[in-house]
């Protein structure tokens, strides 16, 4: 094996690739060659490190120096100064947004330091295309242990004891699910991985598949052994081409090394995997629709029971788990259930990965023990809200979840406490919103998504969600009527009770939860015809602050509809009847005297 004195890790998750990390990598390889360093420095392409908004990122070992926002033109300096002369380049290091402090080492960054990484243990550390690096970090040791030392029953017992619950959103106890599938009698069973991650804002499943594909292969083989299945399918959405490619490579490698195929570890156990690429319908993340799609049929849900564990793919018992759930399996087997249960709360064990996005300083992937508060995630790990704005709400669970207002920032996040306040864990999307967001508009956005994605099979979802959307659109346009809120609530209740699958049953959640915590905003839209956050264009009213106005008249000149005139006191005023809320005057006012508002 070659001896390298330094490893340069470049994040090649989809986030960094879209910010051009591949040309940084090729420039780096060129510069190293030019300097004659290509034999002593290794360049490693890794999966997502998690700091997606400051990509392309680079880590130089053995020092562990972390560079962010690296552009191809910066590479020469890194090679000449750092790699050749040992002087790390300060200007490319991470700066803490709040304190402006420069952080040199990767393990000193709050965003990464504050995390506990189990599911993401290898993401950003190994090269996903090299099975050796996965093996070096205990890869396939859990599969080896299971096949050579454990009975299927013992595997299931261990998973049950660990308290692991489904990370796809439902939170069903994983061990129980495995037990049901194991107990179903059939010569043919299947193991399926649900990688049809569709929640807007959630991308942890993609990152795990891109950054650590072997962990999913290993976990699925373990599941196959536990329930008695020899065939598995990974259902990935077509929008994740890189995940499909890396998983495909990994499956090939695993076959080559004999972790898939016949007689694995000489135990007589056979298992193989295939990828099925979904065509990108949100509803295909629902398990029965997903199975229909794998079978080559239209992706529509069917009523349960029978549950997949009894009658799943092609009518055979099928075990379905989400990507992140599988990623937890090998460490649980290796370290034991007791190790796993030290993390988390009483009824939610382990960690959860959140995809943090929205009005927040550090967006990206965050893995924390269950029971961590929202405040810790938002302020301690992710660096708070930019520009000194105020926190308004966080949306968890995507279009099936709800929002959490400021008063609940300190509740420990787990499956049950989120449900209690009308939200849900969901797959772990966490969208942070500041004071500039209109909650009626947010609800409208999510409902628009579910209306688009409703498969149309059952009436409550197909028609009901559309009716709700129409009402919301009316409200945001300023045409809300007395009684609209009650009508929304009644519709929501009926849809929840009668829709066929999870998509419809949870579709009204964003509306219900914004109604619960921000009812006054709905009322302001309907009764006073104003949008307190100043987002809904039809309700926008611009106003000139008389104290700040110096009477220069620039606003009146710029107004395209002549809605601004000089008042008796020499100050200008806006005629809201004529105003079209284009905002041109507010942009031009030299004294910042014009603002939108109630």
């Amino acid at each position: 094996m070659e001896f390298y004195r330094a490893h340069i890790l470049i994040c090649a998750g989809a986030g960094c690739i879209s910010s051009n990390c591949l040309s940084v990598k090729s420039e780096l390889e060129k510069q190293l060659k030019d300097q004659g360093l290509d034999k002593e420095i290794m360049v490693v392409k890794t999966g997502c490190i998690g700091t997606c908004d400051i990509g392309p990122v680079m880590i130089v070992y053995p020092e562990g120096v972390f560079y962010c926002n690296v552009q191809p033109e910066d590479v020469k300096e890194i090679v000449e100064e750092h790699i050749l002369k040992g002087r790390p380049v300060k200007r490319l290091m991470y700066t803490v947004p709040t304190t402006k402090k420069v952080v040199e080492k990767v393990d000193e960054i709050d965003f990464l330091k504050g995390q506990t990484r189990i599911a993401l243990r290898n993401c950003g550390v190994i090269n996903p295309d090299r099975i050796e690096e996965y093996i070096a970090r205990n890869g396939y040791a859990a599969l080896g242990k299971v096949l050579t030392q454990m009975k299927p029953k013992e595997v299931i017992e261990e998973i049950k004891k660990s308290g692991l619950r489904g990370r796809g959103g439902g939170g069903f106890p994983t061990g129980l699910k495995w037990e049901f599938a194991a107990k179903s009698q059939s010569p043919q069973k299947y193991v399926v991985c649900n990688a049809d991650e569709g929640d807007p804002g959630a991308f942890m499943d993609r990152s795990i598949l891109e950054g650590d594909p072997h962990s999913i292969i290993e976990a699925m083989a373990i599941a196959g052994y536990a329930i008695g299945a020899s065939q598995g399918y990974v259902y990935v959405r077509a929008e994740y081409p890189l995940a499909v490619e890396r998983l495909g490579n990994a499956i090939e490698k695993a076959r080559e090394f004999g972790f898939l195929g016949k007689n694995i570890f000489g135990s007589g156990f056979d298992f193989d995997l295939e990828i099925r690429v979904g065509a990108g319908a949100f509803v295909c993340g629902e398990e029965t629709a997903l199975m229909h799609s794998i079978e080559g049929r239209r992706g529509e849900p069917r009523p349960r029971p029978p549950f997949p564990a009894q009658k799943g793919l092609w009518g055979k018992p099928t075990l379905l788990n989400n990507v992140e759930t599988y990623a937890n399996i090998p460490p649980i087997i290796l370290n034991g259930a007791d190790w796993f249960t030290q993390y988390g709360t009483e009824n939610s064990k382990g960690t959860k990965v959140f995809a943090v996005a929205g009005d927040i300083n550090n967006t990206g992937l965050v893995e924390v023990p269950m029971g961590t508060t929202l405040r810790e995630i938002i302020y301690d790990i992710c660096g708070g809200i930019p520009e000194g704005k105020k926190f308004k709400a966080a949306q968890t669970g995507g279009p099936s979840g709800g929002c959490i207002p400021e008063e609940h920032l300190d509740i420990p996040i787990d499956y049950d406490s989120l449900k209690e306040i009308g939200s849900m864990m969901g797959s772990g999307g966490l969208i942070v919103m500041n004071e500039d967001n209109c909650m009626v508009d947010v609800a409208r956005f999510f409902l628009e998504f579910t209306v688009d994605e409703s498969c149309g099979k059952c009436t409550p979802c197909r028609v009901g969600t559309r009716r709700m959307l129409e009402i919301l659109e009316r409200i945001t346009k300023g045409e809300g009527k007395e009684g609209d809120i009650e009508l929304l609530e009644r519709l929501a209740k009926n849809i929840k009770a009668t829709a066929l699958c999870g998509l419809g049953q949870t579709a009204p959640n964003p509306v219900l939860s914004t109604l619960r915590f921000f009812r006054d905003e709905y009322e302001a839209h309907i009764k006073d015809k104003i949008c307190p956050a100043g987002i809904c264009k039809n309700l926008l009213k611009f106003k000139i602050n008389a104290e700040k106005c110096k009477g220069c008249g620039i606003c009146a000149k710029i107004c395209p509809v002549n809605a601004i005139s000089k008042g008796e006191d020499g100050k200008y005023i806006i005629d809201n009847e004529k105003c079209i809320a284009c905002g041109a005057c507010a942009k031009k006012c030299p004294f910042d005297a014009i603002g939108k508002g109630a």
């Binding site: 094996m1 070659e2 001896f3 390298y4 004195r5 330094a6 490893h7 890790l9 002593e40 290794m42 070992y61 053995p62 020092e63 562990g64 050749l84 002369k85 040992g86 002087r87 550390v125 190994i126 050796e132 690096e133 093996i135 070096a136 970090r137 205990n138 396939y140 040791a141 080896g144 242990k145 050579t148 090394f257 004999g258 972790f259 694995i264 570890f265 000489g266």
Partner: protein
Amino acid sequence: MKSLNELNELKKKAQEYMNLREGKEIARVTVAMGTCGIAAGAREVLTAVMDEIKKRNLQQITVTQTSCPGRCSEEPIVIVEMDGQKVMYGKMDAEKARKMVVQHLVNKTICSEWVI
């Protein structure tokens, strides 16, 4: 994959170079690569150190570089940290560097004649 032993063998081999990323090291060799060091031939020293480590298949040794430690007349300078001890060698060249690797890193005796 036939057995756990086979996997463990593979793992041991693969871990050899992952140690660098996980901060596992028994010894650290730092070559001073400031302008003065480079001018005095630090590059050849570094290459020789690496080559010798590779040839002898030594494990968990970090080779890194630093800028000028301030004793330019003694360049090229190599600093070896092992067992909590920090030793600075001066006026090194490729040949001395190779000998140092054998004596210091393998036999664990300090090459006192070159210490500054």
